[in-house]
Symmetry: C2
């Protein structure tokens, strides 16, 4: 069976982007193509998968084909993949399978979201439609409320408090301050993050990711092609995906994400490694409590000790065995829904190749992991990457 590598990766800066969908995508694609070391031509691309919720609805149908025609990929077999905020994590998985299938040698996986050109009311609608419509959204529960319920329950079940979430926020803002592509590039103090504007008790503004525009684009290739395109491919060592009930009341526990546990176990199992072997992980911290869950569900911390993990600063850059969200994460790098999954891959690709700002470089990074969640845990895709092929 063929091995698959990432040979190029690019993205726009996250934030309030001046361009629309087509321009943003073209920028990310160009950045990805330019990152490929040796001669590359977009006509080499056999297949493409683009993750997006098509936020705002200006181009809800055939979004993917519209984007490829604006980036030199005319005629390519392309489709949009949608799984709420995990859209491009799944787009990446499907791109990987397309190469594994022997039907394609060079495949693009990407993601995009344009969130900042809507009124606040329309934004609320578009952010709500990824939760369970019947039981949650129409009853008034949107994601800050969902994650607030989960956080409250976590504090009840385990020795943890909002202070632990503040530690997550401070860490991710610190990492983001070192990332020139991040939406929010500034430090926040523990004091400031402790006393933020309340959004949904106990979550304050400093617990919630911003509303970002952004696009990201990854070029994957089969081993024999990858080695021609670059001397430093980043290998896809494992992929896992799973789903769960959308509505919280249907789950046996709301202080862990079962989809993360299953997807993580599959991806690490395929790579033949344990969580302790991962040098850096980009995890889905749409809210700070979600990072606490991710560190436990992926195995970086024991069950119930994710809060302690944050408190002790174990995910901080080059502090523990695994740096968590070196990019700044969704909290600080930003969260342009459909772009987030492949945006995480951009960070891991550049970290493993030693191409990030030196102040943000994870020392001796050999193995990276990406963790992308849809909604409040209904879908999840995890990928493991390595500098070594196997």
């Amino acid at each position: 069976m063929v091995d698959v590598a990432v040979v190029g990766a690019g993205q726009t800066r996250y934030g309030n982007h001046p361009l629309g969908l087509k321009g943003m995508w073209a920028e990310a694609a160009r950045d990805a193509f330019n990152s490929i070391d040796n001669d590359f031509d977009p006509v080499m691309i056999d297949e493409a998968f683009i993750g997006s919720i098509a936020f705002g609805g200006s181009q809800l149908g055939n979004t993917a084909a519209l984007l490829t025609e604006h980036s030199g990929m005319d005629g390519v077999a392309v489709r949009r993949v949608e799984n709420a905020c995990a859209s491009s994590g799944f787009a990446f998985r499907d791109a990987w399978m397309a190469i594994k299938s022997g039907q394609a040698d060079v495949v693009v996986a990407g993601g995009i979201e344009k969130m900042n050109d809507l009124t606040p009311e329309r934004k609320r609608y578009w952010l709500g439609v990824s939760g369970d419509t019947e039981w949650e959204r129409l009853a008034g529960l949107t994601f800050p409320g969902t994650y607030a319920l989960m956080a409250r329950r976590y504090f009840h079940e385990f020795e943890s408090s909002h202070d632990d979430l503040v530690h997550v926020s401070v860490k991710n803002h610190h990492h983001g301050s070192l990332n020139p592509m991040a939406h929010i590039q500034k430090e926040v103090s523990f004091e400031k993050a402790s006393s933020g504007f309340m959004v949904a008790d106990p979550l304050t503004l400093y617990d919630c990711c911003p509303t970002s525009d952004g696009a990201s684009c990854i070029v994957l290739a089969a081993d024999h092609v990858a080695k021609k395109l670059t001397d430093t491919p980043v290998w896809v060592r494992g992929s896992g995906a799973a789903s769960d009930r959308l509505a919280l009341h249907d789950r046996p526990s709301i202080t862990q994400l079962q989809a993360t546990q299953v997807a993580g176990k599959r991806a690490l199992g395929m790579a033949g490694i344990g969580a302790e072997d991962v040098d850096l992980a980009e995890v889905h911290d749409c809210f700070t409590i979600a990072e606490v869950f991710a560190t436990e569900d992926l195995g970086f911390a024991k069950r119930g000790e994710g809060g302690k993990f944050a408190r002790e600063g174990l995910g901080r850059l080059n502090q523990g065995s695994t740096t968590i969200n070196a990019s700044g994460g969704l909290k600080s790098k930003g969260h342009p829904l459909g772009s987030t999954g492949t945006g995480q891959v951009v960070e891991v690709f550049k970290q493993l190749r030693g191409e990030v700002t030196s102040s943000r470089q994870v020392r001796g990074a050999e193995v990276g992991l990406t963790h992308n969640v849809g909604g409040s845990g209904a879908t999840c895709a995890v990928h493991v990457f390595g500098r070594d092929q196997r």
Copy 2:
């Protein structure tokens, strides 16, 4: 490389369905599972791909996970695939690749759309968002107008007139009258279809597909599993997909669909057969003129002779070498956008197994083809099926 077969296929009746998304999907999935000859359990499903535009937007994010949790597929790695009206044609392709990749043995591909619970104004919006937003939709051009422009140009370039489209309509209504799952199960006379209510000159009501609710579900399996599940698998012999510019003004010709030509050539080439070997083809006749294009672009008729092909009744049930739209096609069976592609596979599966009403059976059907188009030709997926494995 593993061969892939369809082992089960089911669908709801198309039309104005009393149930919502979850109920419709559960009905189609149950129908598909029940169609599998030997012991089958949904826990065998490794991966699922569901095509939908999420029409109406009640569940725009994580739609796919919501559906699988309501059909005994809890926890499965699932995603929504969106390519406008070609959504489930691509979902099927991605399911096929997932098995080819060796990562999955049993995979579900399906599609769904609930169209009839919106106001006419909202329907217009949701039908418009699959065309090019910037150049067409916002200028007021919706699909009847797009295809009307293409029809006018076709009549200008070739010896053809609206009468040829009437022949397509009469044929497809005839086939649909024999299909108990069709939206419109009645014959129309040539006279009646000639004098229909004008929608977009030259297209009348009898040239346009209806607005349908519907869901369809296909179970695919790797060869070694397929043979355990059934004695009569239907083999996927070829798959092809392509994209094209969304806006008509960007294409060199508007009387042919380049994406169909490329996808068809790839699928037939992979199967190692010619169009003349296909016993039945389910083609994407969202408007009658689209069937004329499809018969030419797929090679059933020569360029410019699709009108003549229709006039001479060559696509009529058991009249020529290839029966076109034995199900009634989108015109008469109905067109629940996201469901159409896998709905076509349901018809081919049942026809090749000799399981349709005897009056609709294509005699000696050994090879079938499905052709699913997104928008006015921006995306296209073609599949070839055979009773024989190779």
